[in-house]
Symmetry: C2
Subunit: 393 residues, 2 copies
């Protein structure tokens, strides 16, 4: 028979989160999560939904009516975007310059689409010239790109140029803003991005579970005029339109508590001001970058494409990346991450996102990293690093 | 430009939740939700995942290795079950005796399957004879049924009989236990159910966002030997196997906080004991049923199929179901729900689930409902109802 498990009180360690997400959550957001629930069709929840939509629009810099939290973590909003936009017979153009382009490709294939690629090495952004060439060659219906690549720490510049190319070719554009939304400049409307999705646990510093998505009218027209149903019922935006649109009719039970939390996290964004928040990320992450460089370490991303929210630092010769990560976790309760895919073993990924993008966290990170590297016998100038960060903060 | 929204502090009303879910959440579970996060790949989170899996097995009454919380609300675990089990070319047999059979059908179609039905009127369970006939006629590969139909308040009896029929015909069985798991007797292994899914916000009284799913080896063998990929990347169980299986490799970011909450909610199940919990639901809901019947109201489900966790009460002639619901919400901060689909306007749905299945809630419900019906001029004996409930509690 199935025995009664003996499971004790929930007592996870008290981490400082400087990895690629989740980031540290603001106490006000944690408190929102412990708010008793109302029903997902309660009139008071309808008000809360409206408020979250308004706050999401502010954060995405968009007037899109169709701006909602998807009931799942970031990959759910990603699949909602790709799976609704791509119909069997459609072609989707995806990038190869990081881990998340592959994921887009897999989702587009499962949606019944054909996938074509625009290439750039891991660690570099897409070149508009290559995007233009790919359009000439493949005439894709949908073009997806990653604004902030979590696997390489590279920021995609010249977004308006990319969207122009796509629109001249009558394609719709999907932007992955998982690691940029709320932390790095992104302007959905001004940059003519048709669809953008994100995760809440990065620069918004909200526990994962309800994930930002926005679609403009062009995109929603395509979704609503599909010839075949999207292949997921749960993520079918034409059905979700009934719940998040004017009707407010039952589709599925929303993750009520996660919506509460997202509302509070977005309220913090609005209180700070979105441009001020971008500036804070840049300034705090810059102190981190200056420090690791002064220490003698090398950033993986070229300066021109440096992504403040996710700093990729090259592992110095002779140092075991995993041993450093373990040391930081064991001795400092501090999380950073290793490289993914093509960059596994070559880099560390150090997040500087949302409530983690603070002087306190960065000072602590520098101290801890310096200690870990010394422990490993790495040839680094810890004092110079700490001094440079201190000066910059 | 996009204006900064003016959104105040989160202050939802303090509801008593006696609808079809969410139910009232235990304070210990709310507190778990405000616990600071660790990363989804943190060694300490791996321990928490193991504990949640163990607790889920206890609650499902199963030894299935493959027992996990899916990263979404109940419909996500439903689509994970259907979408992974049904391949293009497969036939799935679904019931027509409630709202959720239709949802199963839609998911199976989107998965590329052919859908056939076994019929029973809304408000009645499936008859094993009809299931046998449907198998003879259609030879389905997968058979789905709803153990506790939230739209009709009907409990499906004779589950072992249904699973025998399916297995004699080499089909796999999927059980919807959204409104039964943790509140009404369900025994996955003893009853030979291959796959069962549920939602956390019903008899487990946990905020929605991470949803129970279990598959036995036969089911997982089918999933892992598919010829085509499942049509959702997010819900692909062969990929999730990497995260929840031995490897613990990154797939997507888990909803960490929802996993914390589910752990605490399941700990409460284990502390009480699963059989004791089933007995409590039956006893408390019985006091509710006795009371509404003594008041002169009629239950929609026949006594033999009465579902303690979801009580469907017929709306008396001349009474406006919506007005009563509104009155309860406005005057008592109390949520009950109207009928769905074929039963819209004909019934109220009164949940008695998890932390809401308490004498305190049922007494309050009876008082409030009596008042609302008197207000509406219904011909009911409120005093008799209150007395009967009081005696039974």
């Amino acid at each position: 028979m199935v025995e009664k498990p003996d499971v004790g009180e929930l007592a996870p360690p008290n981490r400082t989160l400087m990895g690629p997400g989740p980031s540290d959550v603001h106490p006000r957001v944690l408190r929102a999560m412990s708010t008793p629930l109302v029903g997902h069709l309660d009139p008071s929840f309808i008000d809360i939904m409206n408020e979250v939509q308004e706050l999401l629009r502010y954060t995405f810099r968009t007037d899109n009516q169709w701006t909602i939290p998807v009931s799942g973590t970031g990959s759910a909003s990603m699949e909602a975007a790709v799976g609704n936009l791509v119909e069997p017979g459609d072609t989707m153009l995806v990038p190869t310059n990081g881990y998340f382009g592959d994921r887009m490709a897999s989702m587009a294939e499962r949606a019944g689409g054909e996938v074509v690629t625009v290439d750039a090495p891991w660690g570099e952004p897409l070149d508009p010239v290559d995007v233009e060439t790919a359009f000439d060659e493949h005439s894709p219906d949908v073009f997806g790109f990653v604004h902030a690549e979590t696997s390489t720490g590279v920021l995609q510049p010249s977004v308006p140029e990319l969207t122009s190319i796509a629109h001249e070719n009558d394609a719709l554009v999907v932007a992955d803003t998982v690691t940029s939304l709320g932390g790095v400049e992104f302007r959905a409307d001004e940059w003519n991005v048709d669809v953008a999705y994100s995760g809440p646990q990065k620069c918004l510093s909200c526990p994962p579970g309800a994930s930002p998505l926005t679609l403009n009218d062009d995109a929603m027209d395509k979704v609503l005029s599909r010839e075949t149903q999207p292949r997921s019922w749960y993520l079918d935006l034409s059905l979700l339109e009934g719940y998040w649109g004017d009707e407010r009719a039952y589709h599925h039970t929303a993750p009520i508590t996660n919506v509460y939390a997202l509302r509070e996290a977005l309220r913090l964004v609005a209180e700070e001001g979105i441009e001020e928040r971008w500036a804070r990320h840049r300034s705090v992450a810059s102190a981190l970058k200056t420090g690791v460089e002064a220490m003698g370490l090398e950033m993986n991303a070229p300066d021109a494409y440096w992504l403040p929210s996710l700093n990729t630092v090259r592992v110095p010769d002779g140092v075991d990346d995993g041993a450093v990560i373990e040391y930081l976790l064991d001795e400092y309760d501090l999380e950073i991450a290793s490289g993914l895919g093509a960059l596994a073993g070559d880099i560390w990924r150090i997040g500087c996102m949302g409530h983690s993008a603070r002087a306190k966290n960065v000072s602590y990170l520098m101290t801890a990293l310096g200690d870990a590297l010394s422990e490993q016998g790495a040839d680094v100038d810890v004092e110079a690093g700490l001094a440079a960060t201190g000066d910059a903060l």
